[in-house]
Structures are given as structure tokens and as C-alpha cells.
């Protein structure tokens, strides 16, 4: 009988939040400064995450390119992260895709700058060596 009651409880929780609370708790606790979380805070965070998923999806779809094609694509999401201030915190994990050729060019340019800096550093080292008795 105890099992049946527990089962009912779990169903009731699911009506309120559909994401698994246990998983949300694991993610929350992976942050080292957090010591404990009360049940209400956990339920609210799970609910907020659901609202966030809905909002990110609808926002990206509405502002995205795939409306005529009835499609939501990765680049719609990357655009949202880049353009909306609210979703800015996602920019690192939703980077815009670029062509490999363009990336190689960027790498080359970066390397040239690094080389220049290194040369300057080498000169500095030499000066230091000279300064020593």
C-alpha cells in the first residue's frame, strides 16, 4: 500500500513540473558554493527551466528564418543568443557556425598577431638579461 501512495505523489508532482526534480537537484548541487536547497526552491527552479525552454524555443522560432519552412534550426538559436540581451549568457555554448575556410583565415591572423607579440617578449627578455650583473 505504501508503494501505491508514493506512486500517486509522484504523479501529482509531474502535473506541476515535468522535468525530473532529482536531475535538477544534481545540476544545482554541481555548483560548489551551494550547500543546500529547500524543496520549494527546487520545484521553482524546475518550473523556471520549463518556462525558459518554452521561451527560448518560441523566441527563436519567431525571430528565426525557418518560419515559412516551419522549422526551428540551430542557427535560429545561435542568432537569439547573439542578438537578444536576455539570452546573452548562452552565447558561449551556442556559438554561431562559420565556414572552415573563414575559421582558418581567422586562425592565421591570430597567429600572426601572437608571433608579433612573442618577438616583443623576446626583446624584453634580452633587455632583462643585459640588466643583470
Amino acid at each position: 500500500m505504501a508503494d501505491v501512495v508514493a506512486g500517486k505523489d509522484r504523479c501529482a508532482e509531474h502535473r506541476l513540473v515535468s522535468l525530473p526534480l532529482s536531475r535538477i537537484r544534481v545540476i544545482m548541487k554541481s555548483s560548489p558554493e551551494v550547500s543546500s536547497i529547500n524543496q520549494e526552491a527546487l520545484v521553482l527552479t524546475a518550473k523556471a527551466t520549463e518556462l525558459f525552454v518554452q521561451y527560448l524555443a518560441t523566441y527563436s522560432y519567431r525571430h528565426g528564418s525557418g518560419r515559412e519552412k516551419k522549422a526551428l534550426t540551430y542557427s535560429d538559436l545561435a542568432n537569439t543568443a547573439e542578438e537578444s540581451e536576455t539570452f546573452q549568457f548562452l552565447a558561449d555554448i551556442l556559438p554561431k557556425k562559420i565556414l572552415a575556410s573563414k575559421y582558418l583565415k581567422m586562425l592565421k591572423e591570430e597567429k600572426r598577431e601572437d608571433d608579433d607579440e612573442e618577438e616583443e617578449n623576446d626583446n624584453d627578455d634580452e633587455h632583462e638579461d643585459e640588466a643583470e650583473p
Binding site: T49, F52, V53, L77, I93
Partner: protein, 147 residues
């Protein structure tokens, strides 16, 4: 505790269902878009937790509570979530209260029964009591895990 990196992922099936319910019927969501939203959701949880934790620390509390999460939403510029979250919180509190009252009512009924009846039915009642003890143990377990 999170022992493997995939422990920090949310279940894809649930995420997909939430996305589908939010978008108009028949919209195709690419696999890449789904996994991107799922990752974004995990990052959102971490970001919200960190903000909420700052509010708890300001209040010199060690345990995150509901008001910390609500304050975090405002700080993160997700004010639009505050009203639906408050509604969800009320629903959750009602649910908890309902559960508590139901179990108290059950106990009262049982006490009455024990008072009025004689001991010849004690065998049945022993069984009932065992079951209730099991329930209580389970509730205690849940509470421990929660904190």
C-alpha cells in the same frame, strides 16, 4: 552528486515534449536544435542557482529558498517568469497542505477506531500500523534527500 558529465543533461524526451508544446503544430525541430536547447536549459539551471545563491548569502542563509529563486529571475531579466512561478508555488503549497491534512485525517480516524474497539481485532490493526510506519519512513527518506 554529478559523477559523469551526462548527469548534468536533462532528459531529451522531456525537453522535446516541452518544445513541441510551445511551438505551433507541425514545426520541425532539428536534432541539433533540440540538443542545443537542452544544453541551454542546463546552463540556465546553473545560472539561476548561482544568482539565487547570491541572494541567500546576502540574507546570511545557507539554504536556497523560493524567494531566492524568484529574486534570481528578476536579476536575470526573466521577470516574465515571476507571475507563473508564483502561481506554481501556490499550487505546490496547496498540494503539500492537502497531503498533510489527508494523512492527519487518517491518523484521527485510526485513533477513534482504536478507542472504540476492543482488542480482539488487534491483529488487523497491527498490520495497519506496520503499513503506516513504512509510509512514514519513506517520507523521512524523501526529506533527507531533499536537503
Amino acid at each position: 552528486m554529478a559523477e559523469r558529465p551526462e548527469d548534468l543533461n536533462l532528459p531529451n524526451a522531456v525537453i522535446t515534449r516541452i518544445i513541441k508544446e510551445a511551438l505551433p503544430d507541425g514545426v520541425n525541430i532539428s536534432k541539433e536544435a533540440r540538443s542545443a536547447i537542452s544544453r541551454a536549459a542546463s546552463v540556465f539551471v546553473l545560472y539561476a542557482t548561482s544568482c539565487a545563491n547570491n541572494f541567500a548569502m546576502k540574507g546570511k542563509r545557507k539554504t536556497l529558498n523560493a524567494s531566492d529563486v524568484l529574486s534570481a529571475m528578476e536579476e536575470m531579466e526573466f521577470q516574465r517568469f515571476v507571475t507563473p512561478l508564483k502561481e506554481a508555488l501556490e499550487a505546490y503549497r496547496r498540494e503539500q497542505k492537502g497531503k498533510k491534512e489527508a494523512s492527519e485525517q487518517k491518523k484521527k480516524d485510526k485513533d477513534k477506531k482504536t478507542d472504540s474497539e476492543e482488542q480482539d481485532k488487534s491483529r488487523d490493526e497491527d498490520n495497519d500500523e506496520d503499513e503506516e510506519r513504512m509510509e512514514e519512513e519513506e517520507q523521512n527518506e524523501e526529506e533527507e534527500v531533499d536537503n
